[in-house]
Subunit: 187 residues, 2 copies
């Protein structure tokens, strides 16, 4: 029995992602994850060395998605960030649209992600997406008014898109385009 390939690991991550989004990371026990998968708690420890390790793996998936965008942002000369922003926001909208649950779990469990990252990785503190993004907005070479617009645009995308399924129901498909044009109006 069992899954032929290394598939159980992914099923664990899928269930964990769903439960972390519904109930929160702290409020979700390994027992719940195991029961929903029809296995026991101990089985999870064959695939992950700890509960934090599951969250860390979800972080890595998110990290891969945001890495291109943030790397590009980091290498951009300060005086070109504002001009490049609309294009970057469009790609951010695409990423969020295609991976809603993954962005959602990060937004809803920011503190848990931070703790897990800081415990496991003492490398450069360059790992957390939220943290790297924060640094761009704190760059005081860019005019404050522009940075506020940048922050607001991200907020608009997140609230407009991430909760879209719950709020707008079956109209959610049309929402992506509407968010895109709305956000571009303030850039």
């Amino acid at each position: 029995m069992a899954e032929a390939r290394g598939d159980t690991r992914n099923r664990i991550l899928d269930v964990a992602l769903e439960l972390f989004n519904d109930q929160g990371y702290d409020a979700t026990s390994l027992r719940e994850i195991a029961e929903r998968l029809g296995v026991t708690k101990a089985a999870l420890y064959y695939h992950f060395k700890s509960k934090a390790d599951i969250l860390l793996e979800l972080h890595l998936r998110l990290h891969d998605l945001g890495d291109d965008l943030l790397a590009e942002l980091d290498q951009l000369p300060d005086d070109q960030v504002v001009a490049a922003w609309p294009g970057l926001v469009d790609r951010f909208i695409d990423a969020v649209t295609e991976n809603r649950d993954l962005f959602l779990v990060h937004q809803r469990n920011q503190r848990a992600f931070e703790q897990v990252i800081n415990d496991e990785r003492h490398q450069q503190a360059n790992q957390d997406i939220e943290e790297r993004f924060r640094r761009v907005l704190a760059n005081d070479v860019i005019p404050l008014a522009d940075r506020v617009r940048m922050a607001c645009s991200i907020g608009a995308v997140m609230v407009g898109l991430m909760g879209a399924d719950e709020i707008f129901g079956d109209e959610a498909a049309q929402v992506v385009g509407l968010v895109r044009s709305t956000v571009h109006e303030l850039l």
Copy 2:
């Protein structure tokens, strides 16, 4: 000793608010709250009947702040909501500016708030601010494009203002006005 008036209760709430914001509701134990106050865990139970009761009290404070705004919104005829929105957003900005920590703790612990409210209050499910706000955005009498703009405007305010202290440092004071003008551009 002890505080002359019913002041200890407020000190508990202040410490809890700070820790819930820093670490999250679930990740904060009553032991931590008590230690920071220089009392024991048991003392907390004289002032609150449970941990959830502390969160519930914080919810009530937030509820009072948002109640006027949402009541006004609920009584507004559907075809006047869009026109009234800019004025309501301005008042929302004022409320967030003056009570940043309180709005922050709600945003960062949405699931915990929902569970506490649903457990303690089986009244009308009209208690959670986020929930009532969601219902406005789901009202399909209002054109979808307008509702998306409304959602985006709230997102812009939240990201622009709530994390302002952490992101913008000593420039945070100027941010309020900048967020206000930025958000009005998309309404």
